[in-house]
Amino acid sequence: MISPHPIAALIGILIVVLSIASGLIWIERRLLALWQDRYGPNRVGPFGLFQVLADTIKLLAKEDWIPPFADKPVFIIAPAIIMVTVLMSFAVLPVAPGIIISDLSVALLFFLAMSSLGVYSIVLAGWASDNKYSLLGGLRAAAQMLSYEVFMGLSLMGIVLLAGSFSLTDIVHAQQRIWFIVPQFLGFLLFLVAGLAETRRLPFDLPEAESELVAGFHSEYSGMKFGMFFVGEYLGITLISAMITILFFGGWMGPVLPPIVWFLIKTFFFLGLFILIRASLPRPRFDQLMAWAWKLMLPLALANLLVTGAVLLAFYR
């Protein structure tokens, strides 16, 4: 159940994940700039690498303002929740053989549980701000994330059927012969969309939607509390990319290179994909978003589950 070096893995994963998440701020801005034929941040340090550091210093130096009309304890706890839930999810990710903090037997469910708890952060932030735009953002987040969670879990059940286990390590081992992207292509697409919606990335960033809700749930946030939401979002993207790698692309498996390198390569590929999607696609209307979730994605996920189960029953009894 427990990895050989849990403390070392804990510290290592924490450091790597946090540096990836903050580095993503720079990567995303550079990539977006690349795809918009610009340069992006290239002034602070070599290639603008220290931009993150400068941003952090700026955020820390800003006034940490809590509006007098806000619900103070909830207002403060909200940004912490997103960081905690996402970081907890990293505890069950098998990065490479032996590099895992806790090899839980229900790791997949744990991941889903943590991502469903992440909703609280957004909803409470929107509610505690006592601002109509924030409230609308919070409401949108609650509805969106609840709806997309439903088929996020369902889209993964096909994989659970194939691997016969909720344990992520077992799922990776089950992909020795063939990556699950091949038998579960529909599941992959559904999970990708759900992952985008769960992390509130750009095509589905309706809870913040600068152009209509003036940053939605974090309108009233400033300083490092805002920074927590910011980093939390990037942590979420990293988490979803790592999950896609584990669930559909064989985790650490790959020829020649050491396992951890393969894992990082795959994860970064999906991070790039997330940013590319952000660079390309416009935001849907909210009713379209909900209609897709319930009228398209959910039936597709159920059909995927049904077909997978039927095929397994018919051929692999």
Binding site: A33, L34, W35, Q36, D37, R38, Y39, L276, I277, A279, S280, L281
Partner: protein, 171 residues
């Protein structure tokens, strides 16, 4: 569905396109000669100040950022005792240049005048005066104006005829 994939691909292809950003401080921007930038006070070819402190620029200025005080030197030439432009107010409209009868005040193609302190944007006469003639080389107001100064009597200007003797009846 297909259109989404197509969009993603098209955006991805932009990775191989030329970037349109100009790396500004290293690659300076081209400014046309008539660019309305930092205001200067120019001099005559002989080195004297062109400004005759007529206040037309201060009157023309829509934001009242020009302040000056006229005085006269021992040769009878008018000149500004002080000449002050507050560039934190200036909108670089160029009306002062249009109003100037002596081509003294000119706008130049330069905009790099940031300061950390707002006070430093108030330029005094010694900051504004340049040693050259600016856009109008060879023009010398005091040589063409029919004003009497030391060393140049009435009728001695360029293309100026001697003053008419009003007591004489002959044409």
């Amino acid at each position: 569905m297909f259109s989404i994939v197509r969009t993603l691909w098209d955006v991805f292809l932009h990775s191989f396109q030329r970037r349109v950003t100009r790396q500004y401080p290293e690659q300076p921007a081209y400014l046309p000669p008539r660019w309305r930038g930092r205001i200067v006070l120019s001099r005559d070819p002989d080195g004297g100040e062109r400004c005759v402190a007529c206040y037309l620029c201060a009157i023309a200025c829509p934001v009242d950022c020009i302040a000056l005080q006229a005085t006269e030197d021992s040769n009878g030439r008018r000149y500004p005792e002080f000449f002050r432009i507050n560039f934190s107010r200036c909108i670089f409209c160029g009306y002062c240049e249009d109003a100037c009868p002596t081509y003294a005040i000119q706008l130049t193609p330069d905009f790099e005048m940031s300061e950390y302190k707002r006070q430093n944007l108030v330029y005094e006469k010694e900051d504004l005066l340049i040693s050259g003639t600016g856009k109008y080389p060879g023009y010398n107001f005091w040589r063409v104006a029919g004003v009497q100064i030391d060393g140049k009597d009435k009728g001695q200007s360029e293309r100026e005829e001697p003053p008419t003797d009003l007591r004489q009846l002959l044409p």
